[in-house]
Symmetry: C2
Subunit: 166 residues, 2 copies
């Protein structure tokens, strides 16, 4: 379940105006300006994307309101600080992000074949985080858990590859 697409339907997860509002509020209350570029970027992200990278975003914006990559790269850290966006993982040398506002913490399954990302949540991870932190005298501030393998679709196609292969 839960590929990179659905989510607008989920209650409390798709309130675009609320998410945009949170970002605007962050900007204003930190002395940044609310520009049309920042709004366009934020809207494009918050409207459609669960996971994305800068290039996809750039392409998508190109059709409605072209915005330079520089501005996208400059907007992203602001969105992250405002809490509506998170870095998720680095792949093929570039970062992937996902929207964060109002979403519950979750982890990712990565299919090594089709490269799709699936989500799941496992509440006990928070407990592991706490326990280990206590054990090690750490003050924990977050964690990341990722599983990689083959999704149900790809298991059949790619086939066994039993030996040591590679």
């Amino acid at each position: 379940m839960s590929v990179t697409k659905p989510s607008q339907e989920k209650p409390g997860c798709g309130d675009l105006s609320k998410e945009l509002g949170a970002f605007r509020t962050y900007l204003k209350s930190n002395g940044y300006r609310v520009t049309r570029e920042r709004e366009a970027i934020a809207e494009a992200i918050l409207r459609n994307h669960e996971h994305f990278d800068v290039d996809e975003l750039f392409m998508e914006l190109r059709s409605r309101k072209p915005i330079s990559k520089a501005s996208i790269y400059r907007a992203i850290p602001l969105m992250i600080k405002s809490g509506v966006l998170t870095e998720v993982y680095m792949e093929d040398g570039h970062m992937h992000y996902e929207k964060a506002y109002g979403r519950e913490h979750h982890s990712h399954l990565r299919c090594l074949n089709c490269r799709r990302i699936f989500e799941f949540s496992a509440p006990e991870l928070a407990q592991v985080e706490k326990r280990i932190a206590r054990q090690e005298g750490f003050k924990s501030l977050g964690h990341k858990f990722e599983i990689w393998g083959l999704c149900s679709n790809c298991q059949g196609q790619i086939a066994p590859a039993k030996g040591g292969g590679s």
Copy 2:
């Protein structure tokens, strides 16, 4: 406990010649050549490094046997395939590795202040991996768990920073 240093003492974890042997064997049985450069790289890694990046390694090799970064970059994938090395994480735009031969699976605690990496193992993570994989119809092939926060040393120094501060 368990910063990035100790390990030679642990039984079964520091057998340099055995690790080097594993790498040589991999090379030979795959038609690659055992060159002095590859040996120097492998030895430097296997002798001293729990965690490292290419630049550190390059610097260290410079004193005994200068080797071009290109060769280091070309040797690393071989070492990974041979099983003596693993990619661990990307930080500040470059990859960090750790030696893998004979080491048990473990996860990392990352101090956001001093940037040191601590290790721990939490066996239940393997169970979470299996359970989620079963749930989602995945064939899992591995997982990664990371906790970030402040290590015991840095908690006092950096101080609370209670509010929302970035």
